[in-house]
Symmetry: C2
Subunit: 475 residues, 2 copies
Amino acid sequence: MLLAALMSFIYKDGVTTNILLSGILVIIAGGILMATTKNHKKELNKREGYLVVSFGWIVMALTGTLPYVLTDSIPSFTNAFFETMSGYTTTGASILNDIEVIPKGVLFWRSLTHWIGGMGIIVLAIAILPLLGIGGMQLFAAEAPGPNADKLHPRITDTAKRLWLIYFGYTAAETILLQVAGMSFFDAINHSLCTLSTGGFSTKNASVAYWNGQPVIQYIIIVFMFLAGTNFVLSYFAFKGKVQKAIRDEEFKLYFKFIALFTIIAALIIYFRADFSISSIDHPMIYGKAEASIRHGLFQVIAIITTTGFVTADYTLWTPFLVVFFFGLMFLGGSAGSTSGGVKVVRHMIMIKNGFLEFKRALHPNAVLPVRYNQKSVSGNIVFNILGFFILYMISFIVGALVFSMFQIDFESSIGLSASSLGNVGPALGNFGPVNNYAALPVLGKWWSAFLMLIGRLELFTVLILLTPFFWRNR
Amino acid sequence: MLLAALMSFIYKDGVTTNILLSGILVIIAGGILMATTKNHKKELNKREGYLVVSFGWIVMALTGTLPYVLTDSIPSFTNAFFETMSGYTTTGASILNDIEVIPKGVLFWRSLTHWIGGMGIIVLAIAILPLLGIGGMQLFAAEAPGPNADKLHPRITDTAKRLWLIYFGYTAAETILLQVAGMSFFDAINHSLCTLSTGGFSTKNASVAYWNGQPVIQYIIIVFMFLAGTNFVLSYFAFKGKVQKAIRDEEFKLYFKFIALFTIIAALIIYFRADFSISSIDHPMIYGKAEASIRHGLFQVIAIITTTGFVTADYTLWTPFLVVFFFGLMFLGGSAGSTSGGVKVVRHMIMIKNGFLEFKRALHPNAVLPVRYNQKSVSGNIVFNILGFFILYMISFIVGALVFSMFQIDFESSIGLSASSLGNVGPALGNFGPVNNYAALPVLGKWWSAFLMLIGRLELFTVLILLTPFFWRNR
């Protein structure tokens, strides 16, 4: 918040003291908590791990509302909480009808919530969740750099330092490139913060479609969305010179293949079927229709798979196929250990491999056929974790849609809102599609959406386990 | 077909010879096949089992078109194939715009395809699929009556005789009761054939809504839909006097609880939110609004859960909630070992239990916590089977919807068509909802729908394994 106050001061947007006050209030609140509690150096056990992660996120979202509320940018607490939760969970769904009138300092804070949330999730996914044994995340625990202890503390600090350096470096690189390509510094830094976190907040009402006349800007964002959706541990390997090791990673290969395959499909459909004129978005064909089709196809496929949710085109208007297509992609997600949400590529890979083996097992019931990942056989427990995660994900999705439909929201919109909130994507379908926002949701719908974002972001088990009776029993 | 010809003769509908000719043609075709092949008494191996089941079903659907085509009731071969496949798979989706003008003999044949398909599926589910090791069906293999051999032949004949007797008995009982309640004999026998098979074809354009003025008829159908969605082995136990054993079955208990819970929800929503006047269906309130709400709620919940697909009300018009609600129910399915389609209650139960254990495993990673079903612990392999089945089901569903959307069918309709075809339900959503039919589907869409019906009916693996390269390798 102090950084946002600084930005506010530089751009003289007139709300510097309000943002500064937010920061000071949070410092005071934190100071009181620190002073009135003790044992800060105690090792956490598993149960405390779940509590700290879940409630930490909620406390962050509560305090993060201050800059919105105190500057009157978002006077309603519900809206401010929604925007903050959408920020920290790197969802990118917004209730702002006019983004461009919001003071620059507040917009910068909004982008920062993405970036901070993304930072948190990298460490969570690579260092903490594997130790908590959640949804197969143990799978690449051994791959993470740093000492392989089973206590939380040493691992976090060590891993965090290395990965945050990469995260920070990518963000700086994208900012510079975007500025070189013609963006203002303010737009460049904000979009970089929101790209690396696979968030999707934009400083423009039209999102990245604002730069439809400058394809280079969109290609730069494509590259960094791709990197943000890649396991950051692989970037670490690549920077250490082990490029081969990074490229040979099975999840990375499948992530790349998914993007290639789905881009080809989307680009072909856009080229042959889409009518660029019926969208409310301006689509100047700078380099012709073929380039525009490939660019929009690539951009939207990566934006949805990495759950960034930036928008260059309203694909929902073009053909019914693209609606179902992008709806399906919302369940894909980027790589584990990245800032993306959704089910994640590694889980899909294990599920596909296991499904294929299931066919073989049907023919040869006595053969022992373990799932293999990166040349190692995966333990049955981890496969169970992953299958269990997917089923819980689908149950959460259908319950999510049911609750939205209670607010008289139509089928397509309810289904889309649930998939998008849970997968931390951002744009949904129907009335909450790529060119709309979430402002029209009723108050309870906003809270429900924020809840889905939270459980989706924390890999379901982390939050939902707090709702089981046995978590609170026999402590 | 000879039975249908007899019915045609009795009702003098003028197409008796055409239906008779169909029957004779099939007998001749079968005779030629019998005469030109040999080794009819050979034991089948697993691989041959898959082939016989899949191709057997396709051959049935091909020959079953004859009565439609030769009587000119459905001149188009695509439409006739669709109607036959929808019949044998007990889906109940129809391409007939006016059912009531079709000759009675042909309508009877149409209902018979349901009944024959239902017969086939009982034996398939209880005796054959468990031996093929498909999707956890081994789970209740031991529960089935008859000798527990691992060769297919003796088991089938033995089990089949007992279960078909019950199936036949239920059908006869429903026919008598429906007639007593005021249906004509023809309507009674047709609706009974279509109830016990959880099919859903009706002799009336309005489906069972035709009898909205005679609630007793609808209650009788409710009871028999419930029985048809129950494992027929449990009915066998009950008739042998072991009622306790039947009632204590865990799947039965959950099936009952699901129906109770969802009926309460549906009835409350209908009572407080539904506007009976906006439906195109006539809803006379014979015993008041409360009774009508409970009846329509109960009827539609059971019709969708058991995948029968009879319609008494157009729930898609009443509230958005009910659309998402019934969409979700399409994935539920009745009990395994019944004639219903969908995922089946027993699989949901294992998935829920395993999901719950997954939470416990996260807290106690070293504890051995097996899933238990009917007081026995379920082997990890079977749980794997079931989780794998569900994931394959969801993949088939989303691919199914994608293909429908390629024909310019909107999101809601595509999603609904896929879920309904795959689950053998019948009514879908949007343009293919409860008061519509499938006539408006393009030709390729009808073939795709028929394919989804087939793979859904045969528990996915049976058909899809034929598409894997290793099935054809190393024979």
